[in-house]
């Protein structure tokens, strides 16, 4: 039993985080809002250089073959920076599905080649899921993994038609995708396809949850900084208990969302068949923490918090979007509810961790 990150994992997080702090300025984010692609090419190159694209790619395809526990802190750091580029979803969701396909042995050559290209930053693959009506930055991907019923397809950009939509978050570039499924692009079907889509949903929700954790912390930090310098009645507004308690409430929710997200990262990797409950817990807790932080940080900023000029809304709007992407609170609470009602669900303190939790041996004999 060891619920800690290694020194290496923490050091990698620190180096990615400090790169993002230096490079992802609010000015550069606002520049993206008015550019065609909404992305910064230099940033994509830097993320590749740091290994963000290759980290989760299997070693057999030229990647680093690391796991989601290695990646979850990096995803959190990307959220903290409000990074607009969709590297987290690309690596965790699309990368995860490609790795699943490789393991299943379907279209091995094509998948292996594609993963190899992803690892060196020469190909970009995105992944859509039925739970999301639109797909962020889909038009910038060379390939999209798409679902049609139980079937999973790997479709080149040339066969897709995009309709752009505007998100409340100007950093996001949503696209509706129209396409025609064909035999040629199908890479999985039937039960296998359905299973891949379930796993994809969990990886997407985990990726969102980790970023929401980072977003929440960044918003609280900005509100704390503002409250410590903004003066009224001759003193910093942050000296008032009413203001302090708004921030403390966020801190409590964030602290108890963190281990839920880290546990989900572990479970998705080690026991994907048992991950639904862990992921739904993580997404619900991180989503609630981020939404509360968005609300309270805006409040602490007063009228400034309601302006376009104040940078806070870069984070606030991302939190609003990610809290509902990959399953909103209703969806995830429902999954937990269903699980709690199963007559043979293993409930209670002795099942938080351990082999039974992992092994899927759902017998009430305890």
């Amino acid at each position: 039993m060891d619920f800690t990150f290694t020194d290496d994992q923490l050091a990698f997080r620190d180096s990615v985080q400090s790169m993002l702090e230096n490079e992802v300025t609010t000015t550069s984010i606002r520049e993206r809002w008015t550019s065609d692609s909404g992305e910064n090419a230099d940033m994509l190159a830097m993320l590749n250089e740091m290994g963000m694209s290759s980290l989760l790619v299997p070693e057999s395809c030229g990647g680093l073959g690391m796991d989601l526990v290695d990646f979850v802190l990096l995803a959190e750091a990307c959220g903290k920076a409000a990074l607009p580029e969709s590297i987290v979803e690309d690596a965790v969701v699309a990368g995860g599905l490609l790795a699943d396909l490789l393991q299943l042995g379907t279209n091995t050559d094509q998948v292996q080649e594609l993963l190899g290209a992803v690892a060196v930053g020469e190909a970009r693959v995105g992944c859509a899921h039925i739970i999301n009506p639109y797909s962020n930055f889909a038009q910038q991907k060379d390939w999209m993994l798409l679902a049609n019923g139980n079937d999973v397809h790997l479709v080149p950009r040339s066969e897709l038609k995009f309709t752009a939509l505007k998100s409340v978050d100007p950093s996001r570039r949503l696209q509706k995708i129209d396409w025609t499924p064909s035999r040629k692009t199908r890479v999985a079907d039937g039960e296998v396809g359905a299973g891949l889509q379930r796993a994809t949903l969990n990886r997407g929700a985990l990726a969102a949850a980790a970023q929401l954790l980072g977003l929440a912390q960044a918003m609280v930090q900005q509100a704390v900084d503002y409250a410590s310098t903004r003066e009224q009645f001759g003193k910093a507004i942050g000296t008032n208990q009413a203001v302090k308690h708004l921030m403390a409430d966020c801190a409590v929710q964030i602290e108890f969302a963190k281990p839920a997200v880290y546990r989900a990262a572990y479970t998705v990797g080690v026991a994907p068949q048992r991950a639904d409950w862990a992921v739904s817990h993580a997404k619900t807790a991180a989503g609630a923490a981020a939404e509360l932080s968005a609300r309270n940080a805006t409040q602490v900023h007063g009228a400034m918090g309601y302006t376009w000029e104040c940078d806070l809304h870069i984070w606030v709007k991302r939190a609003w979007a990610l809290a509902k992407e990959w399953g909103d609170a209703g969806f995830h609470k429902n999954r937990i509810h269903e699980w709690l009602l199963q007559p043979n669900a293993l409930l209670g303190p002795e099942f938080t961790f351990g082999k039974r939790y992992i092994d899927n041996s759902d017998s009430a004999a305890a």
Partner: protein, 388 residues
């Protein structure tokens, strides 16, 4: 990160489970806030001690098993799973014990821990005074040095378990010229000393769970001074703070309660008209789990030689508000039957101990520093917001 138990941890769990199955009294003990129940619970402490289960984290020479914090959490999980009696000596074993281990002399440890472990001496706490509640540094109760003794005069209040306990520990002002948190000392006081008057205070459930203590020239040997004279504040606030917090309210308690809540919900859900109950049940279960995850995370860090951060101040708010929510939800599921004292109706299985637990849950956000004080601490020490 490896979230599986080691074979030896699993073996330890089995050992705890087997021992508890063989020893936990079949009949529920009377409340330890009655004279009869107090003695029953003292006997239970003796039973635990006889099996070396009194405080598994203590060294073997003090009746413990030298367990680490992960094993402690496992022990607690099994303890709550077995429905074992509440710990009447929790002030001693969870609060004073770790402090004695850190600051006590060998002679003090030998004298007090041994009797604490065996259940021979049950402890009360004596922090608050009528004008020193949230503002504990306003303590006025005096302990004046007279040779190798202290002479105590003054009053303490809200002293948990003081009505039937043998000893109390607390902070006393040993330097009459001092103010605030200077000049306080941590002293252990036998409650049968001449000059001690204990006046019970009935709690919300009508039982005398705490008391006022009046001291009228009470003489206590300076052997009972824990740590340095006038250094009491530092000891009371010591770094052991978190560990003590972790021990006092380990997550198993809330996980067990939320498991029972789910069982009650399964039985009653078709009769419930309030749709928000489903959400409450899900949230309670999730939050109890989150508290466990957070505790394991912290325990892992400590076992690996790490330290507690300021974020631990979030714990008390989280579990105390969770405890209220669990019980509110259970009472909502029971509907109009919720107000009935279970022992007054024949068919009381479903009523369980929810009403009792609900009453107790009301105290959570108040004791050990109100949640408003905790929020100030989080804002100032964890987030760095300005004091003035």
């Amino acid at each position: 990160m490896d979230l599986l138990y080691t074979p030896s941890q699993t073996h330890f769990r089995e050992e705890v489970r087997a021992w508890l199955a063989a020893h936990v009294p079949a009949k529920k003990l009377a409340s330890f806030d009655t004279a009869e129940g107090f003695e029953q619970h003292r006997q239970w402490e003796k039973t635990l001690a006889a099996g070396n289960w009194g405080m598994v984290t203590w060294p073997k020479e003090y009746g413990g098993r030298g367990c680490d914090l992960i094993e402690w959490l496992i022990f607690e999980e099994e303890y709550y799973r077995a429905g074992a009696p509440l710990r009447v000596n929790q002030n001693g074993i969870f609060l004073l014990g770790p402090t004695l281990m850190e600051y006590g002399t060998d002679a003090q440890k030998e004298r007090f821990i041994t009797a604490m472990a065996s259940g021979e001496e049950i402890w009360a706490q004596a922090w608050s005074e009528p004008n020193a509640g949230s503002d504990m540094a306003a303590i006025r109760c005096r302990a004046d040095r007279d040779g190798d003794e202290f002479v105590i005069n003054g009053q303490k209040i809200w002293s948990t378990r003081a009505v039937f306990a043998d000893y109390a520990f607390g902070l006393f002002r040993t330097d009459p010229e001092s103010s605030r948190h200077h000049g306080l000392s941590f002293i252990l006081v036998p409650l049968d000393s001449p000059g001690v008057t204990v006046r019970p205070i009935e709690q919300l459930n009508g039982l005398p769970g705490f008391a006022e203590i009046f001291f009228d020239n009470v003489r206590v040997s300076d052997f009972n001074l824990l740590g340095g004279e006038n250094q009491g504040w530092q000891i009371a606030m010591s770094t052991a703070g978190f560990e003590r917090g972790l021990m006092l309210r380990s997550p198993a308690r809330f996980q067990q309660a939320s498991r029972k809540l789910v069982e009650l919900y399964r039985k009653r859900r078709n009769d419930i008209l309030d749709l928000s109950i489903e959400d409450s049940v899900v949230r309670c279960y999730m939050d109890a789990e989150a508290y466990a995850l957070s505790t394991y995370q912290t325990a892992s860090r400590l076992v690996a030689g790490g330290h507690i951060g300021a974020e631990s101040s979030c714990n008390k708010i989280f579990w105390s508000e969770l405890d209220i929510r669990i019980h509110e939800t259970a009472l909502s599921l029971l509907g109009a039957r919720a107000e009935v004292e279970p022992e007054t109706v024949e068919d009381h299985a479903e009523l369980g101990t929810w009403l009792d637990g609900f009453l107790f849950s009301q105290s959570g956000p108040i004791y050990a520093g109100t949640n408003e004080i905790q929020r100030n601490i989080i804002a100032e020490r964890m987030l760095g917001m300005p004091r003035k």
